[in-house]
């Protein structure tokens, strides 16, 4: 069998052999492998896209959370501020009322004191008048004969008054 003259028998075997190899490989190896590779490429691509989407959603969620948090913070600040204001106002009001009440109480007390004073003065006046009347009556009743007796009597009365 010469080196560069193709041998017919081998050509026939090679044709048949390669044809069988090709059909078996194409049917049972290449088509399944290539289809699987393509499918896997698709699956990987889809997974990557999904991951990207999930990442975006996550970022959106985080941003939304941040926003909500921010809003909540602002709301809290507002609530605190209004509460503070209200408390301050309440205190202010209370202070004013207390001051008013105190002033009124003082006023009332003063009025009561004045009334008591007036009443006491009236009492004193009445007593003085009664005593004067009493003295005058006693003086009248006893005969004011002598000077010393008169003096003695007056002194007696005065003493009586002090005792009262």
């Amino acid at each position: 069998m010469d080196l560069i003259s193709p041998d017919l028998g081998l050509i026939i075997w090679q044709t048949v052999g390669f044809a069988i190899l090709f059909f078996l490989l194409a049917k049972f190896a290449w088509n399944p492998i290539l289809a699987a590779l393509e499918e896997r490429d698709g699956a990987i691509e889809a997974s990557l896209n999904e991951a990207e989407k999930a990442k975006m959603e996550m970022a959106n969620l985080v941003a939304e959370n941040e926003k909500l948090l921010q809003e909540a913070r602002i709301e809290r600040d507002e609530i605190l501020k209004s509460a503070n204001e209200y408390a301050a106002k309440l205190m202010e009001d209370a202070k004013g009322e207390a001051a008013n009440a105190g002033a009124k109480m003082i006023e009332d007390a003063k009025a009561v004191i004045e009334t008591e004073k007036q009443a006491a003065l009236m009492d004193v006046k009445i007593q003085v008048a009664e005593m004067s009347l009493l003295i005058a009556e006693k003086l009248m009743r006893q005969n004011l004969s002598s000077e010393p007796a008169q003096k003695k009597l007056v002194e007696e009365f005065v003493k009586d008054i002090k005792l009262n």
Binding site: L3, P6, W13, L24, L25, F28, P32, I33
Partner: protein, 340 residues
């Protein structure tokens, strides 16, 4: 590592020299000492593995003959071997195998076709078997574990499949690449595995046989021309944009070009693989010619070195054959949007 390598090659050369002293003692001529090279390169009706002294370790192969008058006939190649010389030459059922290892009829007027399972046909079955085993094993993974990363044989096959698809088929054929990818993959793996198995000691030189390469090239030729579109054939028979007088020259050139493509494919693979085998065997032959330890060490080193290069060549030639096939197919199916 390097010292180990040196020691190993020294040991190998000593072993080889010992063999040469025994096996070559009988044959005195230098020509006989190198005849094993051509014997290895060429096809044979028997598979000769080794010669130990006077014992030949040979696998006899079936001889199958088809002739118009006698139909199919089956013999064993051992029937044609002379028990004295261990060479072919004995006549059997009106046939004999001549000194070129070619089957001849005693009656020279008879015509027949020799479709024997020769050494290369046996090697062809081996290559097909190994290829099928590897690829079907790989494809099993994808059935069992869809959408999972490849494991085992699949992880070895997948990068190559992807490479052939994305680097050979897609850029050279274009949008219709899917139709031709299975063919290119079969071509690549057949040639590659054939080249690699051919490098094993005792293996046959299958992909370095011109009958094999011409068959593969012709398959590419038929695939190319059966799929050739209008633009491709118009380009061949009436090249657009070329004045009429020039067409007389261009058209024959184009038609010759159709056939030079498979011819180039045939010769490239045949020469690259056969030359590699010849170089390796020549270095081994040097040991027997010089019968010197120094040459033995140097030759063995060179053989190992060339073997490593041959591993590279095996891959490159498979790639080149597939690449050129893809380019020829691509040229035939391309939609020409531009004028030449």
């Amino acid at each position: 590592m390097f010292r180990k390598f040196i020691r190993l090659s020294f040991l190998l050369s000593v072993v080889l020299l010992a063999f040469s002293a025994v096996s070559m003692a009988a044959s005195g001529e230098d020509e006989d000492k190198t005849s094993f090279i051509m014997h290895h390169i060429k096809d044979s009706h028997e598979w000769h593995f080794a010669t130990l002294g006077h014992t030949h370790i040979t696998l006899p192969l079936p001889v199958i003959v088809y002739s118009g008058d006698r139909g199919f006939e089956f013999f064993s190649s051992s029937s044609f071997v002379d028990s004295e010389t261990h060479h072919f030459g004995v006549e059997h059922e009106g046939y004999y195998i001549d000194e070129n290892d070619k089957l001849q009829a005693v009656d020279e007027s008879r015509s027949f076709i020799d479709v024997s399972i020769t050494k290369n046909v046996a090697m062809l079955f081996l290559v097909i078997g190994v290829t099928l085993y590897l690829m079907l094993g790989a494809s099993k993974h994808y059935k069992k574990h869809p959408n999972r990363a490849p494991k085992g044989i699949a992880s070895f096959v997948e990068p190559i499949v992807v490479f052939v698809r994305d680097e050979i088929a897609l850029p050279n054929i274009g949008p219709k690449y899917k139709k031709f990818t299975p063919y290119l993959l079969s071509l690549f793996f057949f040639i590659w595995i054939g080249n690699l198995l051919g490098l094993l000691p005792g293996a046959a030189n299958l992909t370095g046989n011109i009958a094999v390469t011409v068959t593969l090239a012709m398959i590419t030729f038929f695939v190319t021309n059966f799929n050739g579109n209008k633009a491709y054939w118009k380009h061949v028979v009436a090249t657009p944009g070329v004045p009429l007088p020039l067409l007389l020259i261009i058209v024959p050139v184009e038609i010759i070009g159709l056939f030079t493509k498979p011819f180039a494919l045939t010769v490239r693979l045949f020469v690259a693989i056969t030359a590699g085998h010849i170089v390796i065997l020549s270095f081994i032959g040097l040991i027997f010619v010089f019968e010197s330890y120094a040459v033995g060490v140097a030759s063995t080193l060179m053989v190992v070195f060339i073997n490593v290069i041959e591993l590279l060549v095996a891959t490159i030639q498979a790639y080149v054959f597939t690449l050129f096939s893809a380019m020829y197919i691509g040229a035939a199916v391309a939609e020409h949007g531009h004028d030449h």
